[in-house]
Symmetry: C2
Subunit: 272 residues, 2 copies
């Protein structure tokens, strides 16, 4: 089963468009996970177990592991996910961008080493920075289009022949780079009207949408702008709001994460 | 001493604008390095020892290490370089691109974990994807501008208000992002006339120039187009042509690498 089919099955099975981001910042982890080499593994697998029936995907952010030299823990977390929840897509958030032989090394890292179903990729270096990923025909390539940060406008909103650059990227991917049907796009929730414009350009292509939760994007506007006609088509990511949910009375971190994940999934489903 | 000053001192000390790229592809290594876990370390430190008096910088490409799970070897290579050749800048070629807290993790990876003097970064996500690196005030940030691959034109050559996108990136960096004087740009050797246009925009800012050697860029045109008035200003990278130089009679791989590095440095110096 390829990435797009696997994602589609997870949307249905868990009645969910929620992607749970795994960004384990040591300083924010509960104290019992901060002093042990395997604390990151224990923390992340606890989050996975608590939310796997509520998520359409998990998305580890490799930067948090790379800063700590914790690649082995990331391998173990990805292995745990694939073994225990093989029906939930694993997205490696790496935003890689390089060409030819080097891009192929990054594809090997994402798909072979970590076993990811999809990886995020930066479009700035063009088609031959994306093509090497396509050799893994059952995997996905999720290309940055319109990002949720303020500075995203510096390049993405530049006027190219009357339209902002991010719309050219959406069109390039939809019309050219997606010839094998392996592509998805990153479009932030902080700009719902732009999300709607990308949706109009790319048809039913899946969109990975960061920016709700801690980043403040509006769920109703996000879902209305980005969903496909059948109420699917999105992986709406939340990381910090779930990982570092403040436990209420009687809860541990995993129960708090589950509570917020459930609230978020259901809030999204109200508007599908 | 900050990155720009260290680079400037290395240009002078070694009379060289040559940057030696370390892209260790296992399949291309001499047989004695292919079967041993430390083969990559032995190979790369052999290249470093053979070329350290001919180079203005070394540039390991992290993708080759990441694909193999060889981060420990990369740490060891970087440590070896810093200890034995502390006057030669270490550039981590990672082309990272992410925002805020995540970009800070990538900066920690490059600067603290690997001890790099500079790291390559992708501009697509804008100013707040570059700012976190500036917190390390003695380090450099080398931003992709015009890349040497064919597909680079897909985005970089789009027409933004009458000028190609890459020139807007050059101007953004020169006029805004470089307020602390920590920035350099990546501009490929395959388009000398565009290199000249970037040089005209950015003044004396250092340029990292891939694309000579195996990629076929013309050295005379590259140097003429990219040098500063004092014959400096560039890190002209060669990776494969040096790493995998075919040994002549009586040479081993390191001697062959030294021969090609010397020829390349001197060919560059003819045109400075």
């Amino acid at each position: 089963m390829n990435f797009i089919n696997k994602l589609s099955a997870a949307w249905t099975a868990n009645d969910s468009l929620l992607c749970v981001g795994l960004d384990p910042d040591l300083a924010k982890l509960p104290p019992q996970f901060q002093n042990d080499a395997d604390g990151i593994f224990q923390f992340c697998t606890g989050i996975i177990d608590a939310t796997a029936d509520l998520a359409c995907a998990f998305k580890p952010q490799i930067a948090y592991f790379a800063a700590l030299g914790a690649e082995r823990q990331l391998e173990a977390i990805c292995g745990y996910l694939r073994e225990n929840y093989p029906h939930i897509p694993l997205i490696l958030d790496a935003k890689r961008g390089d060409i030819g032989a080097t891009a192929r090394q990054y594809a090997r890292e994402a798909y072979d080493r970590y076993g990811a179903d999809a990886v995020t990729v930066n479009p700035y270096m063009g088609s031959d920075s994306v093509e090497p990923y396509m050799e893994w025909s059952d995997r996905g390539v999720i290309i940055l289009c319109r990002t949720s940060n303020a500075g995203g406008s510096d390049l993405q909103f530049l006027n190219v022949d009357g339209q902002p650059l991010y719309q050219h990227v959406a069109r390039l991917v939809a019309d050219k780079w997606n010839s094998n049907g392996q592509c998805a796009l990153v479009v932030g929730a902080t700009f719902p009207e732009e999300l709607a414009q990308v949706r109009a350009i790319v048809g039913d292509m899946p969109l990975l949408v960061p920016g709700i939760g801690a980043q403040g994007g509006d769920i109703a506007a996000t879902v209305a702008s980005g969903k496909t006609a059948d109420g699917m088509g999105m992986m709406i990511n939340s990381s910090r709001a779930i990982l570092y949910a403040a436990p209420q009375a009687g809860e541990d971190y995993a129960a708090a994460a589950r509570r917020v994940a459930l609230e978020t999934r259901d809030a999204i489903n109200q508007y599908r």
